[in-house]
Symmetry: C2
Subunit: 457 residues, 2 copies
């Protein structure tokens, strides 16, 4: 893997623990984009993975120090639940995520008040607790790969605690440009930037996010940090294994039975404000309204599973999405045809079956650090499906020139792009489909990990 | 005034017309920031002013061609009311204003759909109608001063219709940085930028907005437009006249009767999302909650008059503001003391009386092209009031180094700044008050007009 010992630090770890009926600690593989990308590369190596305890089982595991299971060496970190909740909900999810994705309704949010300042202190405490465990556990001169904005202060803390370590920070989100970054009070903004910039290098999925981070550092700290751009990618073998699994084949048959010969537009997303679900459905509605020839001939499969439902913003958004889907279905459905197939269950084999059966992928985020679906789709698809992709996704870097751009706010333009893509025959889309497959397979997760280790030096 | 004949082009004109009981057309001076800045400089000159007909009287005036009244030569332009409404409400107010001030709740708005595309065509039609009247009316080689984003396409149209004219465009709003500008579909964005960049020069109240416009032009058009920064300023003589008027003195006496010896925090604003009214009140609430010594000793005078109530966003915002004010007053009021004096009536003499009596000005916008109140306040104040000013206002350029910065999103920080400013005694604030007065009077409206004429060449 590398010359140096490796320590991975992330909010979610590769294992989640539970106590079984006999009182034994049982480990299971965890989920999430970061984890599913990294875990297969780390399993079976000597790397140590440090992550927060998220469940009661995790908290029991935390008391045992380092746990070895399923090929991982995991150190789970028990934090005060209230402190963790404040840091995770108020600072990470409700503030930093919204900031980097440009999602604030600025006349109302954010509001840096006394309550927020308490949450900020909690965020500091969580970062310090992580840094102290790393400082205690990391072998001499280890490469420490700190993952994502939840742990932005860790590199700065480690520089003081363990100057021998080779720490990098990798961001899985976009990064706010200076004009948006300025929404943070200057003291908080400078603390975050300095925390990250203390790493040997800061990595991002796209050069665009790296440039935004550098611009913020120049403006607020007067320093030029070392950055690198390195996109994560789906693992072709993993994807092939899921696509050919029995579960996926069963789901595909079920889908085929519903769809028949109909064209199939597919999106797979969390129910997340940055994913731009509303305008995707509005564009489909526009297609059916202005191009009656597509009525009964196309189905929009929206595999959109709930996320972060502890935050009121997400509950409200889910309701808006579901209301809109219902309204469009009520408007256009005929006996035997429901225009939008909305599936809110997170079921990976079913999503992959939909990606196989798709004729058109719609990936239209407002802003997205990367977006793996834009690559997973072409990788497993059976029908040379075309890809409609927002240039605001980091994945645009890999897919530009082959994917068809959709401007995320342009509902009419998205409807036009859908109509155009749908009207290309399967035969005529073969070369575009092939080019998409090639682009999607250009990089592997191993390339991404190697870039991080190289940046750690 | 200038060597060249002058033509001023703006949405609102210096006069509004009505039909009196005898069927005669009667002209009155109009209102609005742009008009009140320009009108005194233009009255009595040969300049021609071209503006939209906004009332039934204006439409009658429009049929007469050029009207001379009150020292103005005005050509009022009758537009199809539905076309005008679509262009003004949907494109200008609900889209371009929100874009330049960064006010979109991007998960939901804007939405460039079929309806918007119709409004966009209306916006083009309005701009073309203006350009055609200018082309027909402007003397040979005239300096044409096109005002504000409503008329962004006019310079481009005039370049083709009347290449002899010396056209400039002046923006009274901020300008969106490239990352925000990209929210517009590229074809619309490029059309707007090209329309403005066709002017001999594009002016803004702050170099920051000029730089944002240039960056957008470089990115989207690949051209570097000629820009200039020139801030409008209040007219010291006008302000002195209002401040010493009988109406103002009556209002001041009424205010003094309510306030007694209490400290007085003052804001004067339209009820407008960019003005950041909610966080101003939240900061005041925080002050009363955490610094009980200020209870009963301070009043927050909020002179906030309704605006654009045809847009649902503004009605909703007004309701939120009024609910918050009521809640804070219910929380803290005591017999004889109401913490927030909320006055939603647009009454200039009363606002000026409040500016005279203020101890602290709170001007905390999210983003603001200029903000005249930040200069009008110090200009008329009797008590060396201190100025808390958001660096996101264009007026920051003039007032920086003397005004005290308040970060618009930092509610606790704004509460701290209020507490600090309130605790400076009148004697101790004399030099700061003097410096604010000097800064506020640095420029005059005549300087601003001269800069536009110089840029026209």
């Amino acid at each position: 893997m590398a010359e140096r010992p490796v320590v991975i630090v992330s909010n979610r770890g590769p294992l989640s623990f539970r106590i079984d009926d006999d009182g034994e600690l049982v480990a299971r593989r965890g989920a999430g984009g970061l984890v599913s990308g990294l875990a297969p590369l780390v399993a079976g190596t000597d790397a140590v993975w440090i992550a927060a305890a998220l469940s009661e089982g995790d908290r029991v595991a935390a008391r045992q120090g380092m746990v070895e299971a399923e090929g991982f060496r995991v150190h789970t970190l028990a934090l005060d639940p209230d402190t963790y909740r404040q840091a995770y909900d108020m600072v990470c999810n409700a503030t930093l995520w919204f900031l980097h994705h440009g999602l604030f309704d600025l006349a109302r949010r954010p509001r840096f008040d006394t309550r927020f300042r308490h949450a900020w202190q909690a965020f500091r405490d969580v970062n310090r607790a992580f840094a102290e465990v790393v400082a205690a556990e990391a072998p001499d001169g280890a490469a420490v790969l700190v993952q994502d904005y939840h742990l932005a202060l860790v590199p700065g803390l480690l520089r003081d605690l363990r100057p021998d370590l080779h720490t990098i920070h990798f961001s899985h989100t976009p990064f706010a440009p200076p004009d948006v970054w300025r929404v943070l009070p200057p003291d908080l903004g400078a603390e975050l930037l300095a925390g990250m910039a203390a790493a040997r290098a800061c990595g991002f999925h796209s050069a665009r996010w790296a440039d935004a981070f550098s611009a913020c550092c120049r403006e607020q700290l007067g320093v030029a940090p070392i950055t690198f751009a390195s996109a994560l990618a789906p693992d072709p073998d993993d994807m092939a294994a899921v696509a050919s699994s029995e579960g996926c084949i069963t789901e595909l048959a079920a889908l085929d039975a519903v769809l028949g010969e109909r064209a199939f537009v597919v999106r797979v997303d969390r129910i997340e404000l940055s994913k731009n679900l509303l305008r995707g459905f509005q564009a489909f509605d526009d297609l059916l309204a202005h191009r009656p020839e597509w009525r009964e001939r196309v189905v929009f499969g929206a595999f959109c599973y709930p996320s972060r439902e502890g935050l009121p913003e997400y509950l409200a958004y889910r309701q808006e999405v579901e209301t809109l889907v219902r309204r469009i279905n009520e408007r256009w459905a005929t006996p035997g045809w429901t225009p939008i197939l909305f599936d809110p269950i997170d079921h990976f084999a079913r999503s992959v079956a939909a990606l196989r059966r798709a004729d058109v992928f719609l990936v239209n985020p407002i802003r997205d650090g990367l977006n793996l679906v834009a690559m997973e789709g072409p990788m497993v698809n059976d029908r040379d499906a075309l890809l409609l992709l927002s240039p605001e996704a980091g994945a645009w870097d890999q897919m530009a020139g082959v994917a068809r751009p959709v401007h995320p706010y342009d509902v009419s333009g998205t409807a036009d792009a859908l109509a155009e893509a749908l009207s290309v025959s399967r035969a005529d889309r073969a070369s575009e489909g092939r080019a998409l497959r090639q682009r999607a397979a250009q990089r592997t997760p191993a390339d991404w990990l190697a870039d991080q280790l190289a940046a750690a030096g």
